[in-house]
């Protein structure tokens, strides 16, 4: 991902540009102490620790930011937010980066984006997750036969332990629709 590419993509999305500027402003008083990185339970799996992520945000290195999976790996556990001596809204900032990455529909995050979307659609439809259907929709969405293959082993294990239920009672379709619409509306404001 190059800085010019990402700038190009952002050029016709003033809303996202504003969103990113907000993240930068929120993070301005970061003192790079590394408390967030130290506290993050997922830091070991991240290609860039939270502290480095904030540094990149502050240095306007969006190329570094969106070449990283870090914010996708954020589990929203809020530990970093609780520990940051500057009281910065780190988890929210991670979420904001996630949203921007979604909206830009960057290739790098296709799989995550598809997964989240399938997950939310699933919820909207049933009011809870129906794992089997979720995975099926996800596999359809990524359009890559290697992906379902990679889950076969896990699927069999889960089946064996009766953790996957192909038929699950429906809670009635459409109940959560208005809630989702409201949330989308609020987000757009």
């Amino acid at each position: 991902m190059h800085l010019t590419d990402i700038r190009e993509k952002l050029a016709d999305r003033p809303d996202l540009t504003r969103h990113l500027a907000q993240v930068k402003e929120q993070m301005a008083t970061c003192i790079q102490c590394g408390t967030c990185s130290g506290s993050c339970p997922n830091a070991g799996f991240m290609d860039m620790t939270p502290r480095r992520m904030w540094r990149a945000v502050l240095a306007d290195r969006l190329d570094l930011v969106f070449s990283s999976q870090t914010f996708m790996l954020c589990a929203s556990c809020y530990v970093c937010t609780l520990r940051c001596p500057r009281g910065l809204p780190l988890t929210d900032a991670m979420a904001a980066l996630k949203q921007v990455a979604f909206a830009l529909d960057l290739d790098r995050f296709k799989r995550s984006t598809r997964f989240y979307r399938a997950f939310m659609d699933n919820i909207r439809q049933y009011g809870r997750v129906r794992e089997t259907e979720l995975m099926a929709r996800y596999f359809l969405a990524v359009k890559d036969p290697r992906v379902p293959m990679s889950y076969t082993g896990m699927g069999i294990k889960l089946m064996a332990k009766h953790k996957l239920h192909p038929h699950f009672p429906t809670l009635g379709p459409g109940r959560l629709g208005p809630l989702f619409e409201r949330a989308t509306q609020q987000q757009e404001q």
Binding site: A28, C30, Q32, G34, G38, S39, A43, R52, R55, A56
Partner: protein, 957 residues
């Protein structure tokens, strides 16, 4: 007549309070010292050692002259002075009045203290009851709780209460009904209603029915305490003692953050081995719980690995503390160094810090000393701690990320936390009662250019009551506050205690000795002028010597950058010129001095190279006071007789180093850049690229100290650049940002405005490549691990301050300069503005680098010392002073070098060795050094001394 003797109330018996009291007492004023706890000495009684001496040294605050009026004992054990009335375990009840006439009432806790004010807390929520009980018990109030109104009534029937705090909404009987019923039982019971915000109306209604006041939930401990304190004070007011004083010095210090408050991520009180730095100080102390051994407080096993965690409850928004506590970094440096050097068993001493705040003239070298001794300094903040386990053999695992994102883990036996300084409940109450101006965090805000003045005339403040302070700044500030109190007392026409002759005078040497009643102030900058004015205002003659043809020193170029400084400078200059007790000698320097200390005769001479002074400056000078006036004042050549000397020769920005960088285009020193900013000579119509480069040539061999002013100044410059054009890119390269105390707020502000901060270590400083078009700066960002660059329009080098004090000048008066060229004070902490000989004083930046506020404080402190010496008609030397048996003396002069107080000299007239009885402290070093047995100390003859030594060493005579 006693009622005409000046008397000052000092509130708080910590270091600042003791210092201010001693200064006033030595000057001959009376002091009433009130202390809430049961002893004086404050926090320092618990600290065995201080940096940089690694000893205590507190007794060095005791008077050097007139020693016999104070009790020359260890100050950590107590304080005694004829002129100080000390009231410990005392609560201040009220303070009213004006300068020259304050009425104070206070009560001894032992007859009618808080024990006499039992409190009843009524609430159906257990958590509220328990926390209120804890807060109030900690302050010494007896507390009982009741879960319901019925239970409360039961307790009221049987017990006597002064105050009741009750919830309004409770199951069963509500708080308002309880109020009415309770007052039937105890009519004089003070009742405070506690209510949620929504029910404030009911609370107000309750006040109509006799409730004293109400508290809105959720409340903080301070609000509750203030309320109960008010009830307590009203209840005991009739038993209180009332007195009158002329001035008030507030020296209450600060309290420490309790690390177990809030989220307590470090598990203080929960994880064995997590202690505060004060607790660790006691463990280090040989008189502490562990004796000579350093052992784990729980397991009792020897401690070998220790970690220090900085900024606990400081620089932390999550604990409501956006400021730095100023002292904890140096405490950690000291403790780690001591642990590493005193206990060979300590294999790992590791300090985790964000910025190591080693500001001031001796701190940085001390930190390097610790590093050399093997202390590890890690720039990282640890997020939280978990207790040790079986695998770690009980040791606490500490996990941190280094800048590159690498995860590290080490095991430690002890983790020492550095809790921050916070304003305490007393201060909060006092500020409120007296309506003092305070900052956002509750510290008293000093008046501009008057470091010890609060917004209320006659009430002065010093120490941590005005923001987190270290010992050095507290002691200086306390002496400055003493001066302010002296000025009030002098203004009210008060007298001094008559100086009495010691009861027994051993021989004729004890006859009174007087100093020449004038002061020589060398240096006409703001420090010199401030000192001169203060001394002259107290009625003494002052000769003010300035080598250039203009007064004002560095403030002349600094004035535009500091709000209000221009008017202040103008006022001070006019006041100095117009003062009939000050003779100003410009373009003059000191030629030589004769006479003995305290009776100096100093000859002044015009400065030879007038070439340096520009025509413009002369013109400016000529438009000043009338010519006759000036010639009358400039009586050069006439010797000046003076009893004290104040060295205030100032300093300058450290000059260009051998790299010659500052000569290149686009590269400026901080001062040069400041002048550009002040002169509006920076065109920031289009966004600029500016690099500010801290510690350029400072804190490294050659200039091993931190100048303390350049970091705050760079922040100021960065903020100004951002105000001029928010799109200007400002990068600050720093080693540690030195923003102690409340200046931390500027640091945060700069970040908020988008200033980029890049830390560097000596050895990988950013690279500057300058050519005609500008300067390219390249560096590696330590967090991103990437090469960065910037084509800077301006590169600003923070070069720090050097002193202008020459060895020759200092030595002329028997003082000296230290390794860095600053005035060598008798003790950096305890006697910060004087030489070994207390008649030689120094202030301003030839004493130490510092801000304008610090310069003014040291100048006023030096003036206080001068006034206190000059004010005494006669001094009576201490009883134990050295003598010379001239018949035995071979004039070898070994004793002259040996005496640390410069008390021995050869009398040119008689060619015999003499002792200055005022300077002599009776230490006896001369007696030990003299090869001929000619040096002796009165009352310490050889035979008994030797006997004592042999007895102590258990050797035969």
């Amino acid at each position: 007549m006693t009622d005409q003797i000046g008397r000052t109330l000092v509130i708080g018996g910590g270091i600042s309070g003791i210092r201010a009291s001693l200064d006033l007492a030595q000057s001959g004023f009376q002091v009433l010292l009130l202390e809430q706890s049961d002893r004086v000495g404050g926090l320092l009684s618990q600290l065995d050692t201080q940096f940089p001496t690694s000893t205590c040294g507190m007794c060095r605050m005791l008077p050097m002259m007139d020693r016999d009026h104070g009790d020359p004992q260890c100050l950590r054990r107590g304080l005694a002075h004829d002129n100080i009335e000390i009231c410990v375990s005392t609560d201040l009840i009220s303070l009213t009045g004006e300068p020259g006439n304050f009425t104070v009432s206070f009560i001894d806790q032992t007859d009618g203290g808080r024990q006499e004010c039992p409190v009843l807390v009524v609430d159906d929520e257990k958590i509220v009851r328990d926390s209120m009980k804890e807060w109030l018990m900690e302050e010494g109030y007896p507390v009982q709780t009741a879960a319901s109104a019925a239970k409360a009534l039961e307790l009221l029937e049987t017990g006597d209460f002064k105050a009741m705090l009750t919830d309004i909404k409770m199951p069963g009987m509500d708080g308002v009904t309880l109020l009415t019923r309770a007052r039937e039982i105890q009519p004089d019971l003070a009742v405070v209603m506690m209510t949620a915000y929504a029910a404030v109306d009911t609370a107000v209604e309750a006040m109509k029915q006799g409730a004293l006041d109400y508290l809105v939930k959720p409340f903080d401990p301070d609000a509750v305490l203030l309320m109960v304190d008010r009830i307590y004070k009203d209840a005991v007011a009739k038993n209180a003692r009332t007195d009158t004083v002329d001035a008030v010095i507030l020296a209450t210090g600060a309290t420490f953050f309790h690390p177990d408050q809030g989220i307590n991520a470090y598990g203080y009180g929960r994880i064995p081995g997590v202690v505060t730095n004060l607790e660790f100080e006691r463990m280090l102390s040989h008189a502490g719980p562990g004796g000579m051994d350093l052992t784990h407080p729980v397991t009792g096993r020897p401690v070998t690995r220790i970690a220090w965690f900085q900024c606990v409850g400081s620089r932390d928004i999550q604990t409501g503390t956006p400021f730095c506590s100023s002292t904890c970094c140096m405490i950690a440096v000291k403790q780690s160094l001591l642990a590493k050097t005193m206990y060979p068993q300590v294999t790992e001493a590791c300090v985790f810090y964000m910025d190591l705040r080693t500001w001031g003239k001796a701190s940085d070298a001390y930190a390097r000393q610790a590093e050399t001794a093997g202390v590890r300094f890690v720039r990282a903040r640890v997020h939280s701690l978990a207790p040790g386990s079986k695998e770690t053999d009980g040791a606490i695992p500490v996990v941190w990320m280094d800048p590159s994102g690498e995860r590290n883990q080490s095991l430690f036996d002890l983790v020492v936390l550095a809790p921050g300084q916070h304003p305490d409940a007393f201060l909060t109450g006092f500020v409120k009662d007296q309506e003092l101006a305070a900052d956002d965090w509750g510290f008293v805000r000093p008046e501009p250019f008057l470091p010890a003045h609060t917004s209320r005339p006659g009430i002065f403040a010093c120490g941590s009551a005005t923001g987190p302070k270290d010992i050095h700044d507290s002691v200086t500030g306390a002496t400055a506050a003493a001066l302010s109190a002296m000025q009030v007392m002098a203004g009210a026409g008060r007298h001094l205690v008559q100086n009495s002759e010691p009861a027994e005078s051993p021989d004729q040497q004890a006859a009174g000795i007087s100093l020449f009643p004038g002061a020589l102030v060398i240096g006409g900058g703001i420090a010199g002028m401030t000192a001169a004015l203060a001394i002259a205002d107290q009625g003494f003659e002052v000769d003010l010597v300035e080598k250039t043809d203009q007064l004002g020193g560095n403030l002349v170029w600094l004035q535009n950058g500091i709000q209000g400084a221009d008017d202040f400078l103008e006022q001070q200059m006019a006041a100095v010129q117009a003062h009939d007790r000050i003779r100003v000698h410009t373009r003059t320097c000191v030629a030589e001095t004769t006479g003995r200390p305290g009776r100096w005769v100093t000859r002044l001479t015009p400065v030879a190279d007038a070439g340096k002074i520009t025509d413009a400056q002369i013109l400016e000078q000529e438009s000043g006071p009338s010519p006759e006036d000036r010639s009358a004042r400039q009586s050069a050549g006439v010797p000046v007789r003076h009893g004290v000397v104040v060295l205030a020769v100032g300093g300058a920005e450290a000059g260009s180093d051998t790299d010659g960088l500052d000569q290149k285009s686009g590269i400026y020193t901080q001062q040069q850049f400041q002048l550009l900013l002040d002169g509006n000579d920076i065109d920031s119509g289009s966004p600029l690229q500016v690099a500010l480069f801290q510690c350029h040539g400072s804190r490294e061999p050659g200039r091993e100290y931190c100048s303390r002013v350049c970091c705050p100044r760079s922040l100021d410059q960065a903020l100004r650049l951002k105000t001029l054009n928010p799109d200007t890119r400002v990068v600050i390269f720093y080693r540690d940002m030195m923003t102690p105390g409340l200046t931390e707020a500027d640091y945060t502000e700069a970040r908020k405005k988008g200033v980029v901060f890049v830390p560097y270590e000596p050895g990988n400083a950013p690279n500057l490549a300058a050519d005609d078009t500008g300067c390219q700066v390249t560096w590696t960002d330590p967090i991103l691990g990437r090469a960065m660059e910037m084509d800077a329009d301006y590169v600003v080098l923070a070069k720090g301050i050097r002193s202008s004090l020459s060895k020759d000048l200092a030595r002329m008066f028997g003082a000296d300069v230290d390794g860095s060229g600053f005035f060598d004070q008798a003790d950096i902490k305890w006697r910060p503005v004087e030489a070994m000989d207390p008649r030689v004083l120094a202030c301003g930046i030839c004493l130490e680098p510092g801000s304008l506020a610090l310069t003014l404080a040291s100048a006023r402190a030096a003036a206080a010392k001068a006034v206190s010496l000059l004010g005494r008609q006669t001094f009576f030397p201490g009883q134990d002073t050295a003598r010379v048996r001239s018949a035995f003396c071979s004039l070898c002069q070994i004793c002259i070098d040996a005496c640390p107080f410069n008390a021995r000299f050869i009398d040119p007239e008689t060619r015999t060795l003499k002792v200055d009885p005022l300077a002599c402290q009776g230490c006896g070093i001369c007696a030990a050094a003299c090869p001929s047995g000619a040096a002796v100390v009165a009352g310490r003859s050889l035979a008994p001394m030797m006997k004592t030594i042999h007895a102590a060493l258990n050797t035969p005579l």
